[in-house]
Every structure is written in C-alpha cells, then in structure tokens.
C-alpha cells in the first residue's frame, strides 16, 4: 500500500471514528442493543469503538479463525477487559475478587500490563455485563481504560520509598479521577443506573463531546527509578523529593511510542521536559495540556493524532507557551533529578515504615496455573494471608507490598511452593524482558510476542552464556506490532513484529528509558536475529567498559547510529 493510500484509508477511518464519538450520545452508542443481540458474539461495528471507552476491546481468537470459517461459524469473538487502577494498587480482598473473575468469566488467567492494569481475556459478550459488575463490586472500575481519553495513570511501584510513594500515588489517583469522562454511560449500561434528565448530553468540560483525538497517557516516576518509563507518556511527572517530602514534579510532555510500519510520518518520541510545577499546580497543568491536545490535536488522521505530533508540528516553544497561557502560570526551571534504571528490583526490600516489600517476577505479566508453577493459585493463597497490598509494576511484575516482618516467612513459603520464586535464579535478561499480549487475541499483532518470549529467552540465554554474558543486565522487549504496548522502542534489544515469525530488530536504547533504540535489521526471522546479535554480544563481552550497558555500548562503538531522539537525555540534569 502506498503512503498516500495509507493516508487516505486512515483519513476515512479517522472521520468514521470521530463521527462515532460525536454521535454516541456520550459513549452510549448502541451498546445495549448490541449486548442483547443473540445472533452474534460480536457487537455492532460502531460499538467496537464506543466500548473502548468503557475499558474493553472486542477481539477474537485468531488461532481459530480459519477453522471456524470452514465450519461456517463467525470468529470466536471475545472481549478483553482492562481495569482503571492508578498505580496498580489493590488490596488482598480485591485481589481475591479479581482472581475469581479470571476463573469465572475469563480464560483463567490474570494479565498484568505495562500500564499497571489487570486485563481479563476471553470474556464472551453474554458475560460482559456480569463481569464488569463483578469488577465494580470489587470497587475497581474500567472507565476510560481504553479509548481516546486519559488512560490508566501509571505510578512508580517504588516499594522502598514508602512516604514518597504514598504522596505521589495520591496525586496520581486524583489526576486519574479528575480526568474521568463525566458521562454516566458506563453506569447506566453496566451497573443499571437509572437514566436521568440530560442523559446522553452530559457536559464534558475537559474532553468536549468528541473526547480526545487519540489515547492519552500519564505516568509518575520517583527517581532514581524510571520504571514508569515516563518519557514514553503524553505527560510524564518526575517526582522531586526534597528533605524526604514531595516538593513537586518536573513535567515532561509529548512522549509516545506507537508507529506504523512503512510510514515515516509516524515514529516513537520521547517527552520534552517542560519545567517544574508544585503539587498544587499539577491539575492546572494537566488540564492545560489535555485541552491543548483536545483543541489542536489532529482529528483528520488517527495515526498522526497523538500529542507528540501536535508538539512536533507546532514546536515545543509554542506548546509550552500555550500550556502556560491556559494554566495561568509559567513552569519553573526543572529541578535536579537522575534516573538510573527503568527496570524493577526483585526480591525483598525494606521500607521506611518498618514494613517490607517483595517484588516477584511475572513473565509477560501473565499469571496462570502452569504445570509446576500454579502462580494464580499461589497468589490467591498469598492474598488470603497478606495484610498489606499488591502493586503491579509498570514492567508487568508484582509487588507484595507492606508486609510485616513477622509475616515474611509465611509469604516466602507460599512463593516457593507455587513457582513464584523465579526471580531468585533467572538471568537479568529474563527478569527484565517485556512482552505484549499479541497473538492470539490482539487484532493488531503481526507476530507472536508473549507466547514466543519463553523460546526466545532460552535461545538468547544460551547465546549469552556462550559469550560469558549470562549476568549482563540487557533489556529485551518484544512486541507483536509497532504500536508499542511493551514499550519496545525503549529496549536495548527489541523485536517489533512485522509478519508471522518475522521482526524488526531494534537496538541501542539505554537502560533507564532516556534514549530510543533504532532499527538495525528489518523483517528478519529468528535465525537471522540470533545471527545478527551474535557478533554484537561477542564485541560487548570483549570491549565493554565497566558498568556499560549493552545499548550504550552499541552506540559508543557506532554499531547503531546515535540518531535516536535524545530529547529527554539532553535535558536531564545530573547532580
């Protein structure tokens, strides 16, 4: 398809989506009718756009497509449901309820996402409403977890800085609530709330009647950890902790990772650091940025509609001035901060409050009962005895947080008994790898990701072992498509799906989310990937300087050009 064709096609799709939003009576669409239609497991096409705003995507089991077509059956339609869960924090009681939903309505697994949400997969239309009601009964909702609105707000998991985390989490939670759509559609459709006068015409003071041109993402980091990969977000807030207290945030804007194969006008971009704001100013800044994007974002082409393009099209200076004008104040100069990693720290850490935190490795964020590793069951057992909370990390892992020292041995025993102690022996490569869901449920996927990761890890581990690099902390990310759910463009090594079994090999990001990688080899299979990496591993083993990451090494030795945008790195202030 030519770039022009792509543009035209995207233009039509965008116009259709904008019309659907405008005509949806504030996100109601014909969902009620669609749910009641007994002849199909699908919902009406327009409703597939509307339902995203309610935290769900219509998908189908792509493994079964051909077989079912031959049987003259429609695709095996099913729904993914994603929670809105700022910071990914749940109580053990909530965990138990989510666990029961996974087994009762979904495919028997809980999926932790890179935006700290739970995802349920495989929910059939007939059971969508009971499932959403059960989630809400756990005091968790799914409002705006997908769609052209502010998505789940990500917060550093940061288990060891309890006070700072609590303060940052509180701001993030309030931002998430502040940016919720005002429509009652969700409550009417799923929770049987009575319709009142004005239903379908609710005022949306922040979003307006057509919501945003595209999805919008906010994340909060607490240095020195950049586990939230804040430069990959539309707005990234970097907590500035002074004398143990939260002084405010450095705000960055315009990050976003999605791109489209073969369309050079789309690209991953890191956020620009705009300046410092106090905690009180956060809401005004958020409103100013969101409404600027609402008013100036591209509503003619979805591929080009994220905030990053709005900023690049008009310039950072224009953008900053517009935001300051709307906020009614200027950014203060950014305060000093430093990021040292975007990974998680596994195992036990002590907090400031005498409580302890255990970070568990959950491969690809998929919690399931597998032979020899009944992790879903194990976490259920832990939830039954745990008195603190659980936190999903932005790297698809899980923190059993706020454990009293007296409870530690009991939790350790449950962890060991249910195959949850992989972090003790896994290679750094394995511990830090990220994979998106991809096949068979994601409609965007061109190639496998989550299902392929275990095989890929074995092969890469064997290769690293041969080069004496078993313990090298190399960040690997794999994604089934170029949209970036596993944040592939921030991986030191990344595979971006191109076709079944074929990937673009991306190299050269740093290990703290400050530098994007670049394309190294296009559209290659596993053998070619391993062959391409082998000499690079050999060189890294021999020539790396002390403490040098693989991505940094590749850039220093000019294996990959240092062409990746370095916006975030350039403005970072190192004290």
């Amino acid at each position: 398809m030519s770039a022009l064709d792509q543009m035209t096609q995207d233009g039509f799709r965008t116009a259709a989506t904008e019309a659907i939003k405008a005509g949806s009576r504030r996100l109601r669409g014909t969902l009620v009718e669609s749910l009641a239609d007994p002849l199909t497991g699908a919902i009406a096409e327009a409703d597939t756009q509307v339902i995203k705003f309610h935290g769900s995507y219509q998908q189908d089991d792509r493994d079964l497509r051909d077989e079912r077509r031959q049987q003259k059956l429609e695709p095996s339609y099913q729904f993914m449901i994603r929670t809105r869960l700022p910071g990914g924090v749940v109580t053990p009681q909530q965990w138990l309820k989510l666990d029961a939903i996974a087994s009762g309505y979904a495919n028997g697994t809980l999926r932790l996402t890179t935006r700290q949400a739970f995802q349920f997969h495989g929910v059939i239309k007939h059971e969508l409403k009971p499932t959403l009601r059960a989630i809400n009964a756990a005091l968790i909702d799914t409002v705006a977890a997908c769609g052209d609105v502010n998505r789940n707000v990500v917060v550093a998991a940061n288990p060891h800085q309890s006070a700072a985390h609590a303060a940052v989490y509180d701001v993030a939670r309030r931002v998430s609530e502040h940016l919720l759509p005002k429509t009652r559609a969700y409550y009417e459709i799923w929770l049987d709330e009575q319709r009142v006068a004005g239903s379908g015409e609710e005022d949306e003071p922040i979003y307006g009647p057509t919501y945003l041109p595209r999805k919008f993402k906010i994340a909060f980091a607490v240095p020195p950890s950049n586990d939230a990969d804040i430069f990959a977000n539309d707005i990234g807030f970097i907590a500035i902790i002074e004398d143990g207290a939260l002084a405010g945030f450095n705000a960055a804007a315009g990050g976003g990772l999605g791109a489209t194969h073969g369309d050079a006008r789309t690209y991953p971009r890191l956020g620009d650091l705009l300046g410092f704001v106090t905690v009180d100013q956060v809401f005004a800044i958020v409103d100013a940025i969101v409404t600027t994007q609402r008013d100036f974002g591209d509503r003619t082409e979805r591929k080009h509609a994220r905030l990053k393009y709005t900023i690049d099209d008009r310039g950072v200076e224009w953008f900053k001035a517009e935001v300051e004008r709307r906020a009614g104040f200027a950014f203060a100069p950014p305060r000093a901060f430093r990021f040292d990693t975007n990974g998680d720290r596994f195992g036990w850490t002590g907090g400031e409050n005498g409580l302890q935190h255990l970070t568990l490795r959950i491969e690809s964020g998929r919690i399931a009962d597998r032979p020899g590793a009944p992790q879903l069951k194990g976490l259920r057992e832990i939830a039954r005895v745990h008195r603190g909370e659980f936190r999903i990390t932005p790297n698809q892992n899980l923190v059993v947080a706020n454990v009293a020292p007296v409870d530690r041995s009991r939790i350790d025993a449950l962890v060991a008994a249910h195959g949850l102690d992989g972090w003790r022996v896994a290679t750094p490569l394995r511990l830090n790898a990220l994979a998106c869901v991809a096949l068979p449920t994601c409609s965007q996927a061109f190639a496998e990701a989550e299902r392929y990761l275990p095989d890929l890890l074995l092969r890469l581990e064997a290769q690293l072992e041969r080069h004496g690099l078993r313990d090298a902390p190399i960040g690997l990310r794999i994604s089934g498509c170029p949209n970036g759910c596993s944040r592939p463009y921030l991986g030191e090594i990344a595979l971006v799906g191109k076709a079944p079994g074929r990937y673009n090999l991306m190299l050269g990001a740093d290990a703290a989310g400050r530098r994007l990688n670049v394309l190294y080899r296009e559209n290659i299979d596993e053998a070619a990937i391993l062959a391409a990496l082998d000499p690079l591993f050999a060189g890294y083993a021999k020539e790396r300087v002390d403490g040098e990451g693989f991505g940094d090494f590749l850039v220093r030795t000019r294996v990959v050009a240092d062409a990746a945008k370095r916006t975030a790195l350039d403005v970072e202030i190192v004290t």
Binding site: P38, L39, G41, K72, L73, E74
Partner: protein, 185 residues
C-alpha cells in the same frame, strides 16, 4: 416417517385430530417450498434439521421471492453449534432472511428450546399464519416435533381464541393445504 406416525397413533393421549395431522404430514416424504413465492415461510429447524432451509433461502433468493422468511434454530451451544451461522447472518444482512430466533439450550441454567422461542413470539407467529404463511418443521421426531406441534397448537389457542381441539383441526387443515409440513426423523 411412517414409523413416526404409527408410533404417535399408538400414543393413547393424542386426540383424533392430532392423529389426522400426523397422518397427513406423514404422507409427505420431504418438505417443499410454497409454489407461491409471495407467501411467507416459517422454518423451524433445530440441530441438523436446519440443513434443508439453506436450500429454501437459496431458492427463494434465486427466484426473487417476495415472501418473508423466518427461521427458528436451536442447538446446545451458541459458540460451537450455531450451524451455518455465517450464512444466516449474511442472509439477514442481504434481506433474504427476515427474522431469526435462536435457542441454545445449554448456555444457561434453564434449558431453552425452539418451542420456547415459538411461544415467546406467539402473537407475531399467529399473525404470520393468518397472513398465509407456510410452516416447516425439520429435525428430531422423538421430542422436538411433538413439542413444536404443541407450541403451535397453544399459540393458535391463545391468539385465535379457540379450543385445543379446534386448534388441532386448524393445524390439520394447514397440513392438508401443505402449509404445515414436517420432515422429521
């Protein structure tokens, strides 16, 4: 077919009129479309009984039939047993099938069969009958055909405000006119 009629005749509970219906119905080896393509048709075909109705719709599409068509289908599970699902969906979209009611017996705790769907649509079904619609039943003889017959009789009783015996007689008439035909096995 003959065996079915005999078996039903042996059933002490059935009325004379009912036996007459079965006798007439039993006379046909297979069901045939109305000669008059402007007639509406009601097709009741749970399980594999739905198969001949694909041909019905194809034929009617080919001759540009102006009559409407209404299909009742049932099977245990929506996900795996919705036979020819894609074809019915397409026929609906193209206006070759006008109504489709489905009953998936095992997808909920209480078992729902086609006869339940017939009863739920009783008023409209009766209106179609009064309007000259032809009714075709295909599939299981042992239970389904009887249950469907009883449902049709009850619908005529309720909406025609006549006795059960008169309703049986009415069905017998329809059968004689070949407007009520069965292919059950």
């Amino acid at each position: 077919m003959a065996r079915t009629v005999r078996a039903q005749l042996r059933d002490a509970r059935i009325t004379t009129a009912r036996a007459a219906v079965d006798a007439v119905l039993g006379a046909f080896d297979r069901i045939e479309q109305p000669q008059d393509a402007s007639r509406n048709i009601i097709m009741i075909g749970p399980g594999t009984g739905v198969a001949p109705f694909r041909g019905f719709l194809q034929e009617r599409a080919a001759v540009g039939a102006s009559g409407k068509s209404w299909l009742f289908f049932g099977n245990p599970h929506f996900h795996t047993d919705f036979l020819y699902q894609i074809e019915w969906q397409q026929a609906l979209k193209r206006g070759q099938l006008h109504r489709l009611d489905v009953a998936f017996s095992r997808d909920q705790s209480d078992k729902v069969y086609v006869q339940h769907r017939l009863r739920r649509r009783g008023a409209e079904l009766y209106a179609w009958l009064q309007d000259g619609a032809h009714v075709y039943v295909c599939g299981d003889a042992a239970r389904m055909a009887k249950d469907v017959h009883a449902a049709l009789r009850d619908i005529i009783v309720e909406h025609g405000r006549i006795s059960a015996e008169d309703a049986e007689a009415r069905l017998a008439e329809l059968a004689a006119e070949r407007r009520y035909a069965r292919d059950v096995y």
